[in-house]
């Protein structure tokens, strides 16, 4: 029976976020909080593996109390248990401090039920780094496998997994000992609409909520802002490029002007012969 932990995060939907142009900060009211889209694929893959091999899927997140909603979303996808670690002392964490806190949570989860596989999304749409997954793997001292777009086999008895890692021009088939950590691509699966019974279960579900004090052997100095080597020193709006010339006239006239612009670069087009 496998125990798979998926790491998930609640994020502001950066697609529709509005920025305050004066302060260059997010106007959080304009951005609904959603489950990081990449993490939905991580949970879905965990659920599929459980269906194949049997076992338990737990999800874990570090975030503010409203992140319970993202956990419920994962229960809808099919996760069995959810853990939220939430505490002021976690606030302001960069990827190094985030991976530290999550590792402490996974270690605690593992004490109750040993973890075989940790699955992360490729990246978050707010942090946007993809660094947390490999960071957790190093701290747990298990092999990190990033860019995974297929899980071929997980063999708990013999203690190995075989996955495909996406490369620029194909993929590689990699075998790793268990436990290991996978960061999965969006292409690994499609997340279907949640089955109705899962929705019902999610509506009732109460996740486990832990503070720093519920975790063991925590070095407070490695948490949150204090434990973060990187700091944001300055934010600014990306410079607006200068507007160019609008070509006036009817379509034919517009095209004629455009053509003369293009033909100034005619050396580029000569290589086209024979294509």
């Amino acid at each position: 029976m496998l125990h798979i932990v998926a790491c998930i995060k609640q994020v502001p939907d950066t697609k529709i976020i509005k920025m305050n142009p004066k302060t260059n900060t997010m106007d959080r009211r304009t951005a609904p909080a959603i489950l990081n889209p990449y993490d939905a694929h991580a949970v879905e893959e965990a659920v599929r593996l459980r269906e194949r091999y049997g076992g338990t899927v737990s999800v874990v997140t570090m975030g503010p109390p409203p992140a319970v909603k993202a956990i419920k979303k994962c229960i809808e996808i099919g996760a069995d248990e959810g853990y939220l670690i939430t505490d002021r002392r976690f606030a302001g964490a960069d990827t190094l401090a985030t991976s530290y806190a999550l590792t402490k949570a996974i270690e605690k989860i593992s004490q109750m039920n040993p973890v075989d596989l940790v699955i992360c999304g490729k990246m978050t749409i707010d942090g946007d780094t993809g660094q947390v997954g490999p960071g957790i793997a190093r701290r747990l001292d298990i092999p990190p496998l990033t860019s995974v777009n297929k899980v071929v086999e997980v063999n708990r008895e013999e203690g190995y997994a075989v996955v495909h890692r996406k490369l620029e021009d194909g993929f590689e088939v990699v075998r790793s000992s268990l436990p290991c950590l996978l960061s999965v691509e969006k292409t690994i699966n499609e997340v279907p609409y949640s089955p109705f019974p899962n929705m019902l279960k999610a509506a009732q579900y109460q996740p486990h909520i832990w503070s720093v004090d519920d975790l063991e052997d925590v070095d407070i100095k490695q948490l949150g802002l204090k434990g973060s080597p990187t700091i944001v020193s300055k934010v600014w709006a990306p410079p607006k490029p200068e507007a160019g010339e609008i070509l006036e006239g009817n379509p034919r006239e517009q095209v004629e002007q455009l053509l003369s612009v293009l033909l100034e670069k005619k050396e580029l087009f000569s290589s086209k012969e024979g294509v």
Partner: protein, 344 residues
């Protein structure tokens, strides 16, 4: 931690099928500037099997020193083996800055190394600078889905690390014959110590598009309405001898594969000509194409933000404009060719 002990700028050099990919050469260009400003050495770090000869290329693109780990155990990239080499090298020679390409390998390796050192790591940097006197790295990157730029610092730890996006830095023109110091190192690592094994590498046989290498890109957006409408982009690209690009919404709609996507979560491109058709010009798209030589936009909405980021704009319906353009261009080009032949 005594910062005095940490000196020099390093670039992790990737290797692919016996060659150094352009992103590593670009980083040498960027690293050279930082090193010169600080008055320190620029070093490349090469890890692989039978890769020693590549050191020459690394020198020609600007490095003073190359650290080489050439052992069979490095035949395939694996986080655990490469990480060991880089950690040992960094702890022994103590650079103040290490740069990696923001490629899948570069990000994987940098994340693992930064955790073990430990130190700060800035992801997907698009601008780099260094404080001359303190050596503080100023690594800037788009944040919150490209809505803002942020400068990230790592004040209390050394080395400072960053992954850097391909195609935003410039490689120096190579200086043939330029040489430097090769430092060969070895790790004592047995195959059994590594918990992962690459069983097989499968190359995709269909030729992959490399929009990042194209001189001419014709990119289409959601404004083309449908997969059929998007064919217009292919037609113009064919006529111009260009490559097809796309906005994310087009990729998400399934009109074309992700390899064609330009922008923050796609590819950064710098063609000589970029033609955007039916693309609104969201910031996440603009960051991926703004350094193109000549940007032309065709959009029926005169208020579309793309017009703030182009050299020439046409406000109009793509389905009216583009067919005329294809026709006139083809005519003009055949005339050109005739006159060319005449000159010879």
């Amino acid at each position: 931690m005594d910062f005095q002990d940490y000196q020099g700028v390093w670039v992790f050099i990737e290797e692919k099928d016996g060659e150094i990919p352009s992103v590593s050469l670009e980083l040498l260009g960027a690293g050279r500037k930082l090193a010169d400003k600080r008055g320190v050495e620029l070093a490349g770090i090469l890890i692989g099997e039978d890769i020693k000869h590549l050191a020459q290329t690394v020198f020609e693109y600007g490095a003073d020193t190359v650290y080489v780990y050439d052992q069979p155990i490095f035949k395939h990239y694996r986080t655990e083996s490469f990480m060991k080499a880089l950690l040992e090298c960094s702890n022994k020679y103590k650079p103040e800055i290490i740069l990696f390409g923001a490629t899948s390998t570069g990000k994987d390796l940098a994340s693992a190394v930064a955790t073990d050192l430990p130190t700060g790591l800035t992801a997907d940097t698009t601008e780099l600078d260094v404080e001359e006197d303190t050596g503080l790295l100023l690594a800037s990157r788009p944040a919150f889905g490209g809505n803002i730029m942020a400068t990230i610092l790592c004040k209390k730890y050394r080395p400072q690390m960053a992954t850097v996006r391909a195609k935003v830095m410039k490689a120096l023109p190579p200086q043939p014959g330029r040489t430097g110091k090769v430092i060969e190192e070895k790790v004592s690592l047995k195959e059994e110590d590594i918990r992962t094994k690459v069983l097989e590498i499968v190359k995709e046989t269909t030729k992959k598009v490399r929009i990042d290498e194209a001189d001419i890109i014709v990119a289409g957006g959601k404004g083309l309405g449908s997969a059929e409408g998007f064919q217009l982009v292919h037609q113009l690209a064919n006529a111009l001898g260009g490559t097809v690009g796309a906005s994310r919404d087009v990729v998400e709609a399934g009109w074309i594969e992700h390899g064609h996507q330009v922008g923050q979560t796609g590819v950064t491109v710098t063609p000589k000509i970029y033609i955007a058709i039916g693309i609104s010009g969201a910031i996440q798209h603009i960051v991926g194409m703004k350094n193109s030589g000549l940007i032309i936009a065709i959009n029926k909405d005169s208020e579309a933000p793309i017009f703030d980021s182009c050299h020439y704009g046409i406000v109009g319906d793509a389905f009216e404009i583009v067919p005329v353009l294809i026709e006139q261009f083809t005519q003009a080009l055949s005339k050109e060719e005739v006159s060319h032949v005449g000159e010879v």
